[in-house]
């Protein structure tokens, strides 16, 4: 494959950008659409003290859950950790800080970070302390809203079905979920992809994430965990 933009790299090359203490945004929903090869790379490299931002903490052996279960994260910003009891235990033991955000608001905070906005105004969860704690309020047209701040990070890791050498991406069915949002939010975005096709092969009309947002493309070794339903 022609590497016109030098974006196609090996997992080893991509892992050079990962280090202790960094903030990683990850795509995926219950592990579906999370990048298995990069996640294994993070585990093998042994990096720790991570702040992880994404929809949920997967399952103990699925998705980003693999990283969380090994105690590699110090903080998680997510909407749900219920499917990963180890995450819950770490939180109870005080070893993992968890910031909960309502699912769609979390998505918008990530999107805001990805499109250069400082935050959004939301009326979701205004009667719930977990949501409102330490947040500024603002009135617009006589109605009160919470200021939900934008989320960005050092690196975004995402999973896509196809990429071309420019990093234009299309996703696979419900594995799209948070990936197009996470793709925009990191200071650097690494896309793990099932297939790399030549420039021009993806229909311009069908591209979901423009390659502008993608810095590196890593070929996927495929999902290597067993799903809960299997």
């Amino acid at each position: 494959m022609e590497n016109t933009f030098n974006k196609i790299v090996s997992l080893e090359q991509a892992m050079d950008y990962f280090h202790d203490g960094m903030t990683i945004l990850f795509g995926g929903f219950g592990g579906i659409g999370s990048p298995p090869t990069i996640i294994d790379g993070i585990i093998e490299k042994g990096i720790k003290e991570l702040t992880l931002i994404g929809n949920d903490t997967g399952f103990p052996h699925i998705g980003i859950g693999k990283v969380v279960s090994k105690g590699r994260a110090k903080k998680v910003i997510a909407s749900h950790i219920g499917s990963n009891p180890i995450a819950g235990q770490l939180m109870t033991d005080g070893q993992l800080e968890v910031e909960f955000s309502p699912q769609g608001i979390l998505a918008e905070r990530i999107r805001a970070g990805g499109v250069g906005l400082a935050g959004i105004l939301s009326d979701i969860g205004m009667d719930n302390e977990i949501v409102t704690e330490n947040k500024q309020r603002v009135k617009v047209n006589k109605k009160e809203y919470l200021i939900e701040t934008a989320l960005t990070g050092d690196i975004s890791i995402i999973y896509a079905k196809k990429a071309d050498p420019y990093g234009n991406l299309i996703y696979d069915k419900s594995a799209r979920n948070t990936n197009p949002l996470v793709a925009m939010a990191g200071n650097m975005t690494i896309a793990e992809v099932e297939e790399i096709v030549p420039l021009g092969e993806l229909e311009a009309d069908e591209i979901i994430t423009p390659g502008v947002f993608v810095d590196f493309i890593v070929p996927s070794k495929g999902v290597n965990w067993k799903w809960a339903w299997e």
Partner: protein
């Protein structure tokens, strides 16, 4: 104490009668997941999933599962003709913008004002709210399907919720094994009573005033 499958199906069947042709419907886990089995053939709806599917169909046959086509609970589904995929921001945009006509979900407690408490189970770890707050707060209509009492026999329809709220004053209709209840500005109204329960049975198991 769980309800038998016959009673769960009876509740689901009654909930299905609330669904109109052309609706966008989001279903929670538990009894709500049984609702599609009771939809008559002439009713066409789009089932919405938070993870970005509009137009979910039934579970696939064994061996036909697609790991990249799952509902918000992570279980394989299919899609119907006319379905579409979107990202999480757009999926929740549909909810907040009022394009999801109906959400049917389970609950731990509901107050007579329609306050919903369904996200923190007492004595268990806090799992996170997921998408429940947005659905409860912004779906056009919220129907709760649940046991009338909890496993200790305590009323789940109450004057004031004792558990943390998912969202205040959002529930429109409650369906239990005892009957169908409507939340109005004047309080809780019994719309239908299911055999063999009497109004006395219902009042004895409900912790707020039940209007008839």
């Amino acid at each position: 104490m769980g309800l038998g499958i016959d009673i769960r199906n009876q509740i689901a069947k009654r909930a299905a009668e609330e669904i109109r042709n052309g609706m966008v419907v989001n279903l929670g886990i538990g009894i709500p997941s049984l609702v599609p089995n009771h939809l008559p053939d002439h009713i066409r709806v789009m089932f919405h999933a938070e993870n970005g599917i509009t137009g979910m169909g039934p579970s696939p046959e064994y061996g036909e599962e697609d790991e990249n086509l799952c509902n918000a609970g992570g279980f394989p589904v299919t899609v119907v003709k006319g379905a579409s995929y979107c990202d999480s921001a757009i999926s929740f945009g549909m909810i907040r913008r009022g394009r999801v006509d109906l959400t049917i979900l389970g609950s731990l407690e509901v107050s007579e004002r329609g306050d919903l408490a369904n996200w923190i189970v007492p004595g268990k770890k806090v799992p996170g709210m997921g998408g429940a707050m947005e659905l409860a707060q912004k779906a056009k209509k919220v129907i709760v399907l649940m046991n009338h009492v909890d496993k200790n026999g305590r009323a789940k329809i109450v004057k004031e919720c004792s558990l943390p709220l998912t969202s205040g004053q959002c529930v429109d209709l409650i369906i239990t094994e005892m009957g169908v209840f409507e939340v109005k500005s004047t309080g809780l109204w019994l719309k239908e009573r299911f055999s063999p329960y009497s109004i006395e049975d219902i009042r004895a198991n409900t912790n707020c005033e039940v209007h008839e």
